[in-house]
Structures are given as C-alpha cells and as structure tokens.
C-alpha cells in the first residue's frame, strides 16, 4: 500500500476513528460516561435516530432526501396510540403503524417519481402535511392511557440477556440493511440509480421503482422509530419527532455518504449515528448547556464533511 492508499483508508475509517477518539476523551473526563449501563442506554437512545438514518441512507444513496421522517413518525405513532386505545390488539396496531408509515413513504416517493418534484420539495410538502394531519388527528393533545400491554412495554423498555431490546433491534436492522445494500440486486439498483440515473435506466434499472421503494423503506423506518418512542413515553405526542430528519441526515453525512447519491456505506451511517449519540449523551453528562451542544454538533459535522471532501 502506498501513501495515497493509506490516506484513503484513513479517510474511509475517519468517522470510526473520530468516534473512538470521542469515546476515549469523554471517558477520561467523566467517570459516569464510562459505565456499561451508560453505554447501553446511549445505544438505546441512538436506535431511534438509527432506524431513521438507515432509511435516510437508502434515500440519499438514490440521490434524494427525505425531510418527512419526523412527521411520518408523529402521525404513525398517533394512529398506533389511537388504535390501541380503541381496543385493537397491540401487535396488530404496531404492524398497522409500520404499514401506514411505509405508505406515507410511498406518497413521498410518488411525488418524486411520478410528480417529478425535487426530493427536497416533495418531502418538504409531505413533512408539512403529515405534521398538520397529526395535529388535526390529535386535536393538538397527547394520547396516553395505552394500557399495560407487555409487548408495547417490551418494545422500548424490555431487555434480553441484559441487553435492551431496542439495541438488539438496532443491530438486527443494521445487519439487514448491510445485507440488502451490499448483497442484493435491489442494493445494486439503489447505488446505480444514485451514481448515474441515465446510465442505470438505459442498463435496465427501473429507477422510478427503485426510488419509490427507498422512500417506502424510509417511511417504514420512521414508523419503527415511532414505536420505540411510543413504548418509552407510553403516550403519543403531536410534536413528536420534530427535527429528527436533521439528526438523521447529519448521521448519514458523518458516515461519509455523498449527498449527491451513489456513494456511501451503511456502516458509515451506523458510526455516524453513534457519534451523534455519544455527543448528545457525553455533553449532557459533562453538563454542557444544550445551546453549546448544538454548536459543538455542528462543528463536528463540519469537520467530518470537510475531511470527506478531500478525497
């Protein structure tokens, strides 16, 4: 390996190195940070952003973006909470929430593919409309009193062998995305669509269908995040998920995925999600005010993206 290749490798692993450095530095400063319990709770918190960021990665790889995730999350949790309160079996209500989230993604995807709207605009529209629908549906008030279903509680608060269930789900979903993006024809189509849509179409890739499915996945993942939140909060809130699209996009960018599509890896997003989580958790423990936290987060993203651009 010559020097250039080594530099490329270092840049490839840049996000991972940044994560490790962050963890080491904060661990040295803060004894509370470096406990197993804190790490597990950190990863559990990160899973909520993680699911959304995985879906977002698919969309961004096709050359798009999905701003609607936070609103999809809010509306699907609202539906799910209402279903449960209305007496529907919890498992069915949760399944329905995932299906509805997927359909919301299809709406965004249809605006992008059939409507020929720019992804930013299309999902800005769905973001606004879904948020409004959430407010209308909930009349601006939270839905709580969801009963004491084991499944609902377990989803966000339960543990298997001492590991929180959201963490297990996070890792399973990560592996699933890794498999789909790296090992399946669909994954290839996602990359091809983002890399050069004209060439991909002429090579027989149905780029519209590929994009549509990417948005559907993103919607489904937003709904999944919502279910974890619903379980943890034991209620649905009309403002739930506001601004979540930004953390998700930041995670994807931190992971080295190109905002132009076609380039990027899901493990990068995984690392990006953890970096955001470590920053949130660590800065909290260190007692940094949330005003400064935003600034620090912004600077970390800037550094990551700048170092990525050099290649």
């Amino acid at each position: 390996m010559d020097k250039k290749q080594i530099m490329n490798k270092v840049q490839d692993l840049g996000a991972l190195i940044a994560l490790i450095l962050l963890v080491i530095v904060i661990s040295i400063i803060s004894p509370q940070f470096r406990t197993v319990d804190n790490f597990l709770s950190l990863v559990r918190q990160s899973s909520i952003n993680g699911f959304i960021a995985f879906g977002m990665t698919c969309v961004i790889l096709t050359g798009g973006i999905d701003l609607s995730v936070g609103s999809v999350l809010a509306l699907t949790t609202a539906f799910c909470a209402a279903f449960i309160k209305g007496g529907m079996p919890v498992a069915l209500a949760m399944l329905l929430a995932l299906i509805i989230g997927t359909l919301f993604g299809v709406v965004s995807g249809t605006l992008v593919t059939k409507g020929r709207l720019q992804p930013f605009i299309a999902t800005l529209i769905t973001m606004t409309v879904f948020r409004g629908l959430t407010m209308i549906f909930m009349d601006g008030k939270p839905i709580s009193g969801l009963g004491s279903s084991f499944l609902l509680k377990f989803f966000g608060k339960g543990s298997l062998f001492g590991i929180p269930f959201p963490v297990i789900l996070f890792i399973l979903i990560f592996a699933l995305f890794m498999f789909v993006l790296e090992k399946t024809t669909f994954g290839r189509r996602i990359y091809a669509t983002g890399s050069n849509a004209v060439s991909a179409k002429l090579a027989g890739v149905n780029i519209d269908r590929t994009k549509l499915i990417a948005y559907a996945i993103s919607g489904c993942m937003a709904a999944l995040s919502g279910l974890i939140l619903l379980s943890r909060l034991a209620s649905a809130q009309p403002t739930l998920g506001e601004g979540y699209e930004l953390d998700a996009i930041a995670s994807v960018a931190l992971g080295g995925t190109s905002m132009n599509g076609g380039r990027g890896r899901i493990w990068g997003t995984f690392v990006g999600v953890l970096i955001i989580a470590v920053l949130n958790n660590g800065l909290n423990i260190l007692g940094v005010s949330s005003y400064y936290q935003s600034v620090v987060k912004g600077i970390v993203i800037l550094i990551a993206v700048l170092s990525d651009r050099k290649r």
Partner: protein
Amino acid sequence: MQIEMRGINKAFGGNPVLRDAGFVLADGEIHALMGENGAGKSTLMKILTGVYTRDAGTVIVDGQEVVYKNPQEAEKAGIVFIHQELNVLFDLTVEENMFLGKEIHNRFGVCDKRAMRAEVRRILDVLGVKIDPGQKMDALSIGQQQMIEIAKALMVDAKVIIMDEPTAALTASETEVLFEVVKSLRKKGVSIVYISHRMEEIFELCDRITILRDGQYIGTRNIAETNMAEVVKMMIGREIGERYPERNVKLGDVVFEVKNLNCPGVFSDVNFSVRAGEVLGVAGLMGAGRTEIMQSIFGNMPHVTGQIFMDGKEIHNKNPWDAMANGIGFITEDRKVEGLMLEESIMKNISVANLNKISSGGVLNAKAERDMVRKGIQDLSIRCTGPLHVCNNLSGGNQQKVVFAKWIFTDPRVLILDEPTRGVDIGAKKEIYSIINDLAAKGVAIIMVSSELPEVLGMSDRVMVVHEGHIGGFIDKEKANQENIMILATGGQLDG
C-alpha cells in the same frame, strides 16, 4: 474585413485535429466551410476567435497578423461566433440578453432602460424582424433566438459573423427568414462564414466554399463554378485501407423489424428490418434523427407510435427493461453520461445490466459476478488492473469495451450501436470492429449508427440513410460509396 488563415495546426492531447488548415475570407461575402464531422471546421473557427490557441500557423486580418487571446478580443475586432448551441439565458428578456454584461447605465450603476430599449428596437429594425424586446427568451422560437444572437453581433458592430450549423434546428420558413437577413448583411459589407452540412443551402446562399478534410485544407471554389459531386468528392476523398477486419457471415432470417415508427416532430414513417448476423449501418447527418429512432426502439422516448417485431412477433418496449427482456441491447452514443457509471468499478458497470444473471431470489452471487466480469475483461481484452478498476481511469477504448461487455452478457438478439467508436483511438477501433464481427458471427443482428462514413462503409452489409427524420434510402454493400450516401443524407435522390 479580410481574413487569411494559413498553416494552422492544432492537437488535443497529442491527437492532431488540424494539420495545415486554413482559408481566406473576402469582404462582404458568404463563405461556406464544409467537411465531414470532425474535419475541423469548428476548431478552425474557434482558433480564429480565440477560444483555442493554435499550435502553429498565421492569422492575418486586414493585412495585420493577429492573435486573439479570447473571444472578447475577437469580438472587439469585429469577429463574432454564433455557436450551434445558442448562448442565451432563457429566463431573461430579449433586451437583458442583448445587453448582458454591456448594460447602459449611469454613474451610480442604475440601468438606463429607455436607452437600451431604443437601441434594441433600432437593431431589430435593421434586421427587419418583429420581436418584442421585453419578451422572455424562452418564449421565442429557436429561429427568433438565433435572430437575437445575430442582433447581438450587430450591436458590437461585427464585420465578420461565423454561423455554425445555423439552420440545424430551424423550420423551412425560419430558414428563409435567416437567409434574407444574411443576404442583407452581405449588402451592408458584413462577411459571413457559414458552416453547414446542407449542400442545397450552401449552393443557394453562399458565394464561395472552402473544404476541410481530416483537419487539412483541401481547396476553395466559387459556388458558380462547382457542383455537388465535386464538393462531395473533395470532402471524402480518402483511402479506407485495411482498417476493417474481414467478416464472413452467412446472413440468417429477418430477426428484427420496425414498421411505421413515428414520433411527432422528430421522425416519421421509419420502416426497416435486420437479419441475423447482419450489420445494418445507419448513416445520416447529425440531428437527422438516427439516435432518436434508436432510443425509441429501446423504449426510451415518449410519444412514439408504430410496431416493432422480433422473430415476426410484435413486441412492446415501453421502457429499457422491456426492451432488454425482448432481446435488445443498446450501446449509446454518449459513453460518459449514458453508457457508464464513471465513478464505479468495471465490475459494477458490467453487473448493473446483468443483475438477474448473477443472482437468485434477489441475492447476488459474488462468485458468479466475479467470474462473469473476469470473463468479460479477458474476452474483450480490457486493459485494467482488475474487476475493481474504476472506469474513470480507463482509456476511451477500454471504457467502450466495458460497455460492450456489459451488453454482450445480456445475450441480445439485436444489438444497437450508436457511434460505437467515438472518441476511441485507431487501435482500439479495430478491436471494437472485431468484437462487432464476432457478435455478427454468433447471429446477433446489429444496427450500427455512425457518423464516420468510412466506418459505415467498412463494416456494414447494408446502409440505411436517414435524412431529417425520414429514411432517405437503403444501399447494399456492393453499391455503397461515400458519394451516394452523402447524396441521400443531404436529401437527394439516387438514379435508378
């Protein structure tokens, strides 16, 4: 203004484009510049106007040797180049376009709209065209946009206007208007350099004609003293040589047939068929509609009507993947945009059209993929470091071989090639010709669109000539020569 260009040489990346080219322009004449695609007409004019620098040669304007460093300097001297791709900003008005960068303003930088409006009116009157100066540019027809370009030239008091294929996108009546304007400019002493492929227009409009071939000056004639046959001969008189490998293929049955293909405003009544193992050359001038016809067959053009048959059965290609499922492959004209994902590896580029072949149940088989790509690299002798070599770093010829590999693995019955050797060096060209011959030998029906006449003649069993969206005619290999192809391509008829 008199211009003399002599002994001009120019090479791009070691590839000579002009070798001892030149021409002489007199005062107040319309001078045609003709030659095949790639003969160097545009390059020569770009050197005159300072877009490119010359490697050797002299340019003399009104007795003085000059070197214009950029188009602005040439413009100041009175030489304006109107490019084929018009240089207009569609969201601005006619007036704003004409005064772009030279707005009339007071000392506070505030534009004097009234003065500008008056100037625009004056110039448009000189041209004798009625266009509202306040109209958005994109509301104008292409003919009107071209008038604005000419108006811009008059605004800077041009003495020489160079027009590159000005009528390529014009309707017949717009062309007439343009000719009137050009002739009135000549009366005012403005000289016009008129680059065109259209023989009839040149004989109608021009005073003299200069012919370039392969970047060389061939000769200049007075239009009154020459004829189309002589001009064509001067344009193409070149030895074909042994550049084209021998092919001995017994032609099979008709595999592929197109009936009454129509696309409003683009092409009409396209009928042709291809036999197994046959290479059907498709010749025609740029913009004749050849690429569009091929894109339609491949399901990549909207609003197309007509029928397509494979083995006598009608097929419907609504999109490229339908076309592929129906056994059609398409190597597109623009390798860098349409043919390849340049940033990706050879492997991903070959795989993307063959995902079903290297997967089961949607899951990729890494070994099958690697084997396929290795075979492609070996069979077509793609020179690279391996399957993971990024296409961007390959030579043009090797990039094109990657595209061929990608399509060969789709096992097409019919393979459409659009400019298969564009931007490919001579050695790689010959390799690509061999690949085409091998495919024909395996019974693939090949449709080869090419703007290089020698290539069409050297490779085709039969030549189909397209002229302005119509099939101009078919010529068998034995009878085909550059003259009769050019006659059909420029809208002429063949005797008998």
